[in-house]
């Protein structure tokens, strides 16, 4: 039984409507409690900014990132942000660290912790390769993890949609989540992965998937329906078609509109649209490329069925990795960059390509602006999740830099001044003077995640919540975040304390302990008769088309040493 009393914390806890107020926090056995005994260990926060542990709701941290690492020995020696990148020798507490965009598993755990993050979401788990994802999860110290399972070009899914079998579809989704120990439904470029099986792509929501006679729109609608039928804690999580292409903002808005009438089974969004920066492009080609963020933001401001995340692009080297196979191939040809690809039988495609966002390149400069425009033009912060789609738009150690861009118009103006004239004319950012405050930042970096993932014990500091706490070395009462952006960046780059499940894991920016984190997954049950009927079809798939036996397909318990099973029942 361990107790902790944090005194004089200035707490920003939007889920509990606490707007940076001075208070004490009591911690017992890893949870926030009303009070503790006098034997509790005392931490004097001294008026420092205190938030729930950060929650990255969309990052690539396990599985596909290993493809990126494998092809990038050069990344392992990059050290643009000392303390949060590059090679670091092991200590008595920590293992050896390497890398920047594709750091090793240990570095991922330590560096997220230093930024005050305690929970991360792997954004793409192919079912067949899920075992690998969980092996890497196990190797990432400290953090709690959850992962989204891919259903974008899955044969079983597309056939059930084509054959109009919504119950069997839901049964299959439940089985696949259980098989992959996933938390929710991820859909990447719906249908595009199957087309990529023939080196082709789908061109939009209504372009039928070759050989399957279904459209991306049908895939989205049917999986949204299955999601609600299974009463899943998260909504469908979508990466829209046509990502990365000029003019794609129309596809993005159309995809959002398509899902307006989804009836949700829980009090949450009907759809989460991810890394919208990459899907908010206007123009007809790269020559007349310009921001589409104002149009997308306009639509979102009038909608109340969705959340989205930014996918901000940060200047410097990055590593793109996505289940959007055809996009990555196109990137590699455009950029003359190295290209890895991994198509997964009956399920998915994927690709990995290194990129550099250069402030001198007009397209990159506009991309840099678009992510920020989305954050600032959408009025309600409870619709906006902060991400860089790490490491696609930039690796997570750039988050402190990204926060300060959103919090300081002055800082933005200084950077915009140095951008190409052509780029400035194609972005909306120079005309935006909104600056996020710490409360809004707390919403976008931990509170909205708690709501959109249905994880009441995460992203807040109310009684009963997990004692995942970040204390940053700035005083909200005295700091002017719009001017003192350097101090803000420094504070967010290394916490005074990060506390995970009640244990101090970072102190004064250095790792103090490395416990193992938990893995959250969703076990949805459907009526047995429906499952049995579905299994008849699935068994055939394994017999005829998979290269592994069904018995060896599902992730075994051995790969989740600290599981947290969330049970739901089909409606």
């Amino acid at each position: 039984m361990s107790e902790l009393l944090i005194k004089n914390a200035v707490v920003c806890d939007p889920l509990n409507n606490i707007n940076c107020e001075k208070m004490d926090l009591s911690v017992k056995d890893g949870k926030i409690v009303e009070s503790v005994s006098s034997a509790a260990k005392l931490i004097d926060a001294g008026g420092k900014l205190t938030m729930a542990g950060g929650f990255d709701g969309h990052t690539h941290c396990a599985g596909k990132i290993n493809v990126g690492r494998f092809m990038s020995p050069h990344d392992m020696r990059m050290n643009p942000i000392p303390g949060l990148s590059g090679k670091v020798a092991p200590t008595a507490t920590t293992r050896a660290q390497v890398g920047y965009n594709t750091p090793n598993t240990f570095a991922i755990g330590y560096r997220y912790s230093k930024l005050g993050y305690t929970t991360i979401t792997e954004a793409a788990i192919p079912i067949l390769a899920a075992r690998h994802t969980h092996e890497e999860f196990e190797s990432i110290p400290i953090l709690d993890k959850l992962g989204l399972t891919l259903f974008s070009s899955n044969w079983q899914v597309m056939e059930y949609i084509r054959d109009n079998e919504p119950d069997k579809l839901a049964a299959y989704v439940a089985w696949a989540l259980r098989s992959s120990r996933g938390y929710g439904i991820k859909i990447v470029n719906p249908g595009g992965g199957e087309a990529w099986g023939w080196a082709k792509n789908v061109s939009g929501l209504d372009d039928p998937v070759p050989n399957f006679d279904v459209t991306p729109a049908q895939i989205l609608l049917a999986l949204a329906e299955a999601n609600e039928k299974l009463n899943l804690p998260h909504s469908i999580h979508i990466h829209c078609n046509n990502l990365g292409k000029p003019g794609n903002y129309e596809t993005t808005i159309a995809s959002m509109k398509l899902l307006e009438n989804v009836k949700t089974s829980r009090d949450r969004q009907a759809v989460h649209v991810t890394h919208v920066q990459f899907n908010a492009y206007a123009g007809t080609g790269w020559r007349d490329f310009e921001t589409g963020a104002p149009m997308v933001a306009d639509y979102i401001n009038g909608a109340n069925h969705l959340t989205f995340d930014l996918g901000m692009a940060m200047f410097g080297p990055a590593m793109t990795m996505t289940a959007d196979g055809p996009l990555e191939y196109a990137n590699s040809r455009l950029l003359h960059a190295k290209w890895s690809n991994q198509d997964v039988e009956l399920e998915e495609a994927s690709g990995v390509v290194p990129v550099t966002y250069s402030s001198k390149n007009f397209v990159n400069a506009v991309q840099w602006a678009i992510g920020q425009e989305l954050a600032l033009l959408v009025k309600d912060p409870w619709k906006v999740m902060f991400t860089t789609d790490s490491p696609n738009g930039g690796t997570f150690v750039n988050y402190p830099e990204a926060y300060t861009l959103l919090m300081s118009a002055k800082k933005r103006a200084e950077i915009i001044e140095g951008l190409p004239e052509l780029a400035i004319g194609r972005m909306a950012l120079p005309g935006i003077d909104r600056e996020l405050d710490l409360y809004e930042l707390a919403i976008m970096t931990r509170a909205i995640q708690s709501k959109m993932y249905g994880m009441a014990t995460k992203g807040n500091l109310g009684v009963g919540a997990d004692a995942d706490i970040a204390i940053y070395d700035i005083n909200p009462d005295s700091i002017d975040t719009s001017v003192e952006h350097e101090a803000v960046k420094k504070a967010f780059s290394g916490t005074a304390y990060t506390i995970k499940s009640g244990e101090i894991i970072v102190k004064d920016g250095e790792i103090a302990a490395t416990p193992e984190g938990k893995t959250y997954w969703v076990n949805a049950t459907v009526p047995k008769a429906t499952e049995d009927a579905m299994m008849v079809n699935l068994v055939q798939k394994f017999k005829r088309y998979y290269s592994v036996n069904m018995a060896n397909y599902m992730v075994e318990d051995a790969y989740l040493p600290h599981p947290v099973e969330i049970k739901t029942e089909a409606i």
Binding site: M71, S72, P73, H74, D75, R77, H336
Partner: protein, 252 residues
């Protein structure tokens, strides 16, 4: 002028990594100070004084500092790594990565240089009076650029992958070169006096001249008449066509 003379007290087997041995690090320092500088020796560190006899003559700026290795140092890596000025003379064979990442100054090796000599160098000059190993002027694994500036002269032969991923600078080999010299050249110049094979594959830009025989030409170059180079007429090829290359390859 400051002259620092080093000789190994005893021939080592496990390699010494001596990236601290540069004029930049030695200039203005006394014998004692230089002896105290640490190098890696296997999985621990040792001082220069423990491993080398050190004598220092004079004290001067980096530009006017010369380091002389008296005898072979075939198990001492990374000598002169990152140096910006001054001079190093090695009177014998030297281990890998000599002069890697250097930006200025001069290294003369009166013996053979093991692989990665002048790796990723950006300026300055390296002269090897014996043979070079693999990846002369090459790059680190996975990098897009090897050597980007400066000049390397090898008076003997070199092994495979000469100037891999060259992005600038000049390499002259007075002997023969092994497999695939000038592979993925993106803008540097390579002159090979002797024989070689499979030259300039995937060259995007730059120039490669082979004065001896090319045993096997890459089937990815287009012949475009002749060109004079240093008063001699060569057959001119451009390519590599498979990377849309605009490089020039001159062969006999």
């Amino acid at each position: 002028m400051q002259i620092v003379t080093l000789s190994l007290k005893e021939q080592n087997i496990v390699p010494i990594e001596a990236d601290t041995i540069t004029p930049d690090n030695f200039a203005g320092k006394s014998t004692d100070e230089i002896e105290a500088i640490l190098v890696y020796y296997g999985n621990s560190q040792a001082s220069i004084g423990e491993l080398f006899n050190v004598s220092v003559d004079g004290s001067d700026s980096v530009e006017n500092t010369k380091i002389i290795f008296d005898g072979n140092v075939p198990r001492v890596k990374r000598i002169g790594q990152g140096m910006s000025a001054g001079e190093i003379e090695i009177n014998g064979n030297v281990d890998m990565h000599c002069g890697s990442n250097m930006t200025g100054g001069k290294i003369t090796i009166n013996g053979n240089a093991d692989s990665w000599v002048g790796c990723e160098m950006k300026g300055g000059e390296i002269v090897v009076n014996g043979n070079g190993g693999y990846y002369v002027g090459g790059g680190y694994r996975g990098e897009a650029c090897g050597m980007a500036g400066g000049k390397i002269t090898i008076n003997g032969n070199v092994r495979d992958f000469l100037g891999e991923h060259l992005c600038g600078g000049e390499i002259i080999v007075n002997g023969d070169a092994g497999l695939l010299p000038g592979i993925s050249n993106s803008g540097g110049t390579i002159i090979i006096e002797g024989n070689t094979t499979m030259v300039a594959s995937e060259m995007k830009a730059g120039t490669v001249v082979v004065k001896g025989n090319v045993a096997e030409m890459m089937p990815a170059f287009r012949e475009e008449g002749t060109e004079e180079f240093h008063g001699v007429t060569f057959r001119k090829f451009t390519g590599d066509v498979n990377v849309g290359g605009k490089g020039v390859l001159l062969v006999k």
